[in-house]
């Protein structure tokens, strides 16, 4: 039987399904009787959702304008380079 600290160390990997069958079995065996580690597992699940739900940084309109102008500029130079050959 693995200890609480060994179980907690692997909870994120468990949720990500990154553990092999043996270690997955050890975690599940531990979780079956350890209420505290079930709490740890639930919180690890919440934290994963917390990270995944953090909004994506938006593209501000001024940055979009600059990047669009930049695209026009580099494409124009490319075409000129070809036409000038």
């Amino acid at each position: 039987m693995i200890s609480c600290s060994e179980a907690v160390e692997q909870l994120w990997e468990y949720l990500e399904q990154e553990l092999d069958e043996v270690r997955r079995g050890q975690i599940e065996e531990h979780l079956a009787f350890c209420r505290r580690c079930c709490g740890e597992l639930e919180f690890a699940r919440e934290l994963r959702g917390f990270l995944a739900d953090a909004a994506r940084p938006r593209l501000p309109s001024d940055v979009e304008g600059r990047l669009t102008s930049f695209l026009d500029e580099i494409e124009g130079q490319n075409v000129e380079g070809v036409e000038g050959e």
Partner: protein
Amino acid sequence: MVQVQLAEGRAGRTMTQPGFGEAARPHLGWLYSLARRLIGDPDTAEDVVQKALLKACRSFDEVRDLDALPAWLKRILVNCCRDHWRSEGRGFDETSMEDMEGPSLYRILAVEDPLPYSDSLHLDFLSTFTTEDVWAVLARLKTIYRVPLVLVHMEGYSTAEVADLLDTPRNTILSRLHRGRKRFETELWDYAQERGLLRDLEGATS
């Protein structure tokens, strides 16, 4: 602003295929968003996106199938991020990793009990963080920890895909991810204390 020095690429595409500008424009939003998450600072992120666009424009002839454009642009962007980290002396190829001893955030919250009137302590703790707070906490992490965390848990990549994208062994990615999660938990707690987030919440729940 990235200085455009010379145009080395050739626009050797047929008239039916879009030019680079037209093809790349719909991807500006997610390119910038990914750069912000990986780099942190908005100005530097914009600069890195420009460098990536310049590189991509010069070798756009390599792209035969426009469906492959997003993955191709993403790889170029990540490479430009790596160039930036190297130039800052914060290489992603760094091999030394810290030992991350100490209790989990779940245990810290249970022991410290910062919100004695709360009957959902752990969820209430997370609810104190705005999106800007999450970015600020992520920005505190070392690059080698932040990048796998962002790519796996925020962008939805598998660890195998991240290993391929960063040209780094998968075991190294797994190890950095593990340490990154622990560091992220510790930094959440430190940040909440420094910014007084818990004090504000305690007032609201008591």
